[in-house]
Amino acid sequence: MTLEAKQVSFSINDQRILHEVSIHIKEKQFVGLIGPNGSGKSTLLKNMYRLLKPENGIILLNEQDILKQSSKAIAKNLAVVSQETPVLFDFTVHDLVSMGRTPHKKLLELDQEQDFRIVKDALRQTGICHLEKRSFSSLSGGEKKRVMVARALAQQAQVLILDEPTNHLDIQHQLQLMDLIQTLHLTVVAALHDLNIAAMYCDQIYVLQHGRIVCYGAPEEVLTPALLQKVFGVYADIQTHALTGKPYLTYVPEQFTKNIRDRAGAVNVR
């Protein structure tokens, strides 16, 4: 299944947030969306999962306009782990993850053996079986995040949208989560803040700045010192990591870059 945004524009109170943004996620591809705060990553994703309606342009899920399909039909194919997890009323972890089964259930249908199995699997995959009976509001931020991921997995969709999935997670769970998502072989688009994680897991990276795509391609093509300087305003030393074979970034604080710049008279640090 593929997911595509075509020339999507979006404004809030006459403030343009997205300018004709186009991105294309091919079948089973892992696409990362990077960019500084306020660059429009979440807004783009929200347009893609129908929470917001594009002003111009269309979103295609498997070549079909998402606005022309029922919410339920889309929810069967597209699962979302959003940034916020504001659960006001108290549910158990099991109840919350079970809600991922909603789009697959008919009105009079109760949860079947199969649903319980899927929920159990999702809990196991995200490593939260031991939390099953706990109340959601008693969990830590990272545990809540994993519950939300488990709910999305229980949805058994072919396409996954993740808005900063590694937020709140400790380093072990960041890697576990990203590994898990990679092994699921789904069509994935994720807004990511950690560029090393983006470099390690993404097939393609799109870079957003001021609501425009400024660059896209494979991680090693996109993640260059010049781009990081231009988009994020930081100096970074980029090496190919010996073990992973992926670009590895070390951000260099200004006090060090100053010396280098003075010595070399160059802007880019290599």
Binding site: Y49, R50, L51, S70, S71, K72, A73, I74, A75, K76, L78, A79, V80, S82, E84, P86, V87, L88, F89, D90, F91, T92, D95, L96, M99, G100, T102, P103, K105, L107, L108, S135, S137, Q155
Partner: protein, 348 residues
């Protein structure tokens, strides 16, 4: 949970039946539970042939014509207000909402005052009060509904504000009518109606509320998944396949229909729709699969008792039931507030 839930519901059904029997027993003339059930069973087809009528005609009238319909109405109104409250709390994602938050009771009050004081709809006879109260609530909800729609979408925030604004205006209208009234007694009659009473219960006027309650209860229960998702928030609801706009509209209409019908026959009985869902969440958690049926049962039980108290506490006069529900509900609510481990839906 499932076995526990069934067990718990059965206990509540039993408690409800016992409470209703008790409520039929008490009053100016007390009757034994044996007679209560004998009279009731003697009215049922097939069974009646086994019952030997050994009670007086007046006993039969008291039990069958006066008390039984009244107790049934109490259960219907209690159950209805409780599930309406639970549903509205999910709709606006706020646990301080009650079924009257959309202006329904103030609309009904306009209808009631115009009947009691201005004598409107007099051609409808004894049904004038119910009909005009229902029309009043209909007026209120239509106003609120259209005020809260922007570009075909219902905004929850606007819905709440429109509900408040319409309430204020309609309350002003009924207060105006009241102030202009010449009759002394009318004031008390309106007051009595506003505080709620089940004294008007008859077999003929419990049929519509019973049917509406049944339908709304079933529909809400069937849609428990969507109600749960509403509680989680807009984002969760949309991404898990709820057609949010459509569902919100359906919910507003269902809850308004139910509340309007109940208010029409019983006045605006407060507190039930607010506290019962809280108590239920305390017992069974937030899952609406359990919240809806348990709210109905607990609401029914609560109002049957409240009405029994209302009848006997200052007998031979009757206390408006709204005073009883608030007196029992208020302290309980404060106790709930003081408990540290009960979340009122503000998250952590």
């Amino acid at each position: 949970m499932n076995k526990k839930f069934i067990f718990f519901s059965l206990i509540l059904v039993l408690v409800l039946i016992i409470s209703m029997t008790f409520a039929v027993m008490v009053g100016s003339v007390s009757v034994t539970p044996l007679y209560v059930w004998k009279v009731i069973l003697s009215k049922l087809p097939f069974i009646q042939s086994f019952i030997e009528p050994d009670w007086s005609r007046s006993q039969e009238i008291i039990i069958w014509q006066i008390r039984v319909p009244r107790v049934i109405l109490a259960a219907i109104v209690g159950a209805g207000l409780a599930i309406a409250g639970a549903a509205i709390q999910a709709l606006v994602r706020n646990s301080i909402a009650d079924p009257y938050i959309l202006g329904i009771s103030s609309g009904a009050a306009v209808g009631a005052t115009s009947v009691i004081i201005l004598g409107a709809f007099s051609f409808l006879g004894i049904y004038a009060l119910s009909v005009s109260a229902f029309l009043g609530s209909l007026l209120a909800i239509v106003l609120v509904f259209f005020l809260s729609r922007v570009g075909g979408r219902i905004s929850i925030f606007r819905l709440l504000l429109a509900g408040m604004a319409v309430s204020f205006i309609l309350t002003a209208v009924s207060n105006f009518i009241l102030m202009m009234a010449k009759q002394e007694g009318a004031l008390k009659a309106v007051m009595f109606w506003m505080l709620g009473s089940l004294a008007g219960a008859k077999w003929t006027n419990i049929i519509v509320p019973a049917i509406v309650l049944f339908v709304v209860l079933i529909v809400l229960w069937l849609y428990y998944r969507n109600l749960n998702l509403l509680l989680l928030g807009e984002e969760a609801a949309v991404t898990l396949g709820v057609n949010l706009q459509q569902f919100r509209i359906q919910l507003v209409l269902l809850v308004s229909l139910l509340t309007g019908v109940l208010v029409a026959v019983s006045g605006s009985i407060g507190f039930v729709g607010l506290i019962i869902p809280h108590i239920v969440r305390l017992i069974v958690g937030s899952n609406y699969k359990y919240v809806i049926p348990i709210s109905a049962l607990l609401g029914g039980i609560f109002l049957v008792w409240a009405d029994a108290v209302a009848r006997i506490i200052i007998a031979p006069q009757e206390m408006p039931i709204g005073i009883i529900t608030a007196f029992c509900g208020g302290p309980f609510f404060i106790w709930l507030l003081r408990r540290n481990n009960y979340s009122f839906g503000e998250g952590d």
